[in-house]
Each structure stands twice: as C-alpha cells, then as structure tokens.
Symmetry: C2
Subunit: 219 residues, 2 copies
C-alpha cells in the first residue's frame, strides 16, 4: 500500500489566520486603537449593550462599531443612532469572522481615527470562538435566559474571552438562573476571568463595563 | 495567462452531504421511523421542550433522542430521566451535524426500533441550517428573550424549518417581544409555515406540538 499524505485543511486555515491576527494586533497597537471582539449567542443583547456603552463613552473617546451580520442592517442603524460610526459587514452566510474579514472592516473605517472599535461578531457561541479576529481583547455576553450551564456546553467561548458580561439580570426572578453557579461554571473554564453582570435594558452595571473599557483603551 | 481551475470545496461538500441525506430519508421511510431535526440558538429550551414532549408521547410511541453537544452530557441525562432512550453525540468542536454524523447516530441506536427519533442539533442558528441531516422534518425553536427580529438576521434557519416553536411565552411581559411581529417576520421568510407558541417550563402549548408530531409519525 502506498503512503497517503494527509493534509489537515482546518489546521492550515487556522494557522494562516493566527498569523494575520497577530499582524492585525501589531497594527492596532501602532494606531493606538483598541479593538474589542464582542461575541454571544443570538439575542443576548450585544447591540443594546453597545448602544448603552456608546452613550456612556462617546464624549470621552472616538468610537466605531463594525456590525457583522449574515443579512440585514438593523443593528448598524441602531448603533448610528446611539452616536457612533458604524459599518455593516455582510458575511454572506459565514458563521464567524476571521482576521482577514476583520482587516477589511478596519480598512473601510480607517481604524486609526478611532480610540475604540467594537467588532460585533455573528451571534454564535461556537465558530467565532475558533477564529482569532486580531482583536486586542475578546468579550462575550451570556444572557440570563440562556441558562447558567452554558460554560459547560460551549467551553472554548469562555476560554477565549477576556471578560464575560452577564446580561438581562432584570429577568433573573423569572428564570432558573443561579448567578453563583454561573460564575462558578465560568471560572472553571477560565480561572480569574473578569465577570460583569449588567442589564443593558435599564443601564444597570454598564458603568462597571465602561470602566473596564476605559482601562483597556488607556493601556 | 493560464486558466486556473477553481474548485468550490464548500459546494462539493454540500453536494455529497445532500446525497447522503436523501439516502438517509429513504432508509428512515423503510424503517417507518420519523426523524425530527431540532435546531435553535443556545439556551432556547430544546431539552426542556423535548422532556415535555417525551412525557406526553412516551406511552403512545417508542422515542429516542440523539443529543449533539460539543462537550458534556448534561442533556442526555435529562432526556433519559424523562423516559426516552438517549445517546450523546460528541461533535468534537464541530458547529453542526451533517448527514454522515446523523447516520452514525442512527446506527448506534438501531433507529428501526423507534417510531420517533429526535436529533437535538448543536445550539447554533447559522451552520446547522446549511447541512441537511437527512431528517424527515426540521423544527426550530425561537425563544422570546432572543427577540422577534431573529428571522431578519438568520434567514436560512427559518427557510429550512418545517415548524417554528416559539418558546418561553411565559416571560413575554418582561421582554419587548411582539408575537404578531414575530409571526410576520417568520412568515416573510417561510410563507405558510406552522408556528406553535409553547411554554416548555409550564407545559402550555405542548399538546399542540404533540399533535403535530403525532400527525407526522402516522404519515
């Protein structure tokens, strides 16, 4: 039997992506631009959290948001109304953003003109966690209705995140969501990670999240 | 310049998958087994809905559930406790199930022994919609906290679904979820599709969903 060469396509794709992601981080460092990659499941409140953050921070820093969506531009419009520059990246059915798509987005907005750029990734707890976008830091939102067991089911997402935002805390009384258990599950996946409970709808906790952003932008 | 041959890997993968999916449906037809592919975002209540369905239907038909999860076996244990056969399919980081993985699952449980097999897909509104699993029918759950705009953002999921279950109707008063608007958005993506509002937590509406299943199983 002849020897068959096995090509691991996925490993190569990820390796190329990692290289470009590193280059992107170097570029952002030179430009003094902080790029936050914001990930979550669909409907966790990414856009509402962002509009709150923009309202809180827009007088202190220049902000732009890159909205990744398979289709539609409903989010980009909401972001613009909140007072930040906004660009819609249509992924054409792709379930995640990679470093190349992120670079295209950064070029299109002239990233060096901004202190903070937020990449609102595709609503998905699986694929976005696998692809380094080149962002300075990763944030993920876990919303109360999704359940406190999500870190058990989507381990990688919690491992790659630098901060976990627990959103929709106002509806905690109506769900079997145990905040202590949620924190324990998150910390099991990622020891020492920052966890910030917020309610984007009422604005509760947004100040603490804004403080985390301020500290990162000043670095 | 020489002509470069372009190989569309994704199209080939999907074509091969479609063939196997068709074969799987023929096999299930011969076995008189109804396979339901259940999809949703993470935390929409797939497992809770399934445990309610099992409690309602277990004395009328033989039921098995194939639980797809990246990691963990928390869902498979809950299903077993509800009274159905249950197998855990670990996807090894994959964000969806394809026809081949589904076949492996069907073989492992001896699908011909069951009237109803439910495939609980990976919690993800993007990738599972692209891959035909070979299921007889597709169901998707949209839960109230995710918002009534999801059909605008994840069009394919609503196009491939044969029935949309709107779950967590008990928390409707605490969210900006407009049932009329949700139905309109769903029907725009998939005219004439069946929409069944339920509350898996309290059991409300599960009878209507059970009726839909009964009708399909008898076909």
């Amino acid at each position: 039997m002849s020897e068959i060469k096995i090509v691991d396509l996925k490993a190569n794709v990820l390796e190329d992506n990692d290289k470009l992601a590193e280059k992107t981080r170097e570029r952002l460092n030179i430009e003094h631009t902080f790029l936050l990659n914001l990930m979550s499941a669909p409907g966790s409140g990414k856009t509402t959290t962002l509009t709150r953050l923009i309202e809180t921070l827009k007088d202190e820093m220049k902000i732009a948001v890159m909205e990744a969506d398979i289709d539609s531009d409903v989010d980009a419009i909401r972001i613009k109304e909140a007072g930040a520059e906004s660009v819609q990246l249509h992924t054409g059915g792709m379930c995640h953003l990679d470093a190349d798509m992120t670079c295209q987005g950064l070029d299109s907005i002239n990233s060096k003109d901004y202190d903070l750029v937020v990449l609102e990734n595709v609503g998905n707890l699986v694929c976005p966690a696998e692809f380094d976008t080149g962002a300075t830091k990763n944030a993920m939102i876990l919303s109360v209705p999704e359940g406190d067991d999500k870190p058990l089911k989507y381990p990688l997402m919690f491992q790659v995140a630098d901060v976990v935002i627990i959103n929709k805390t106002d509806v905690m009384p109506y769900f079997d969501f145990d905040l202590v258990k949620a924190k324990k599950n998150i910390l099991m996946r990622h020891p020492g990670i920052e966890i910030i409970p917020v309610c984007a709808k009422t604005g509760e906790g947004i100040d603490k999240l804004a403080d985390w952003i301020r500290k990162e932008v000043r670095k």
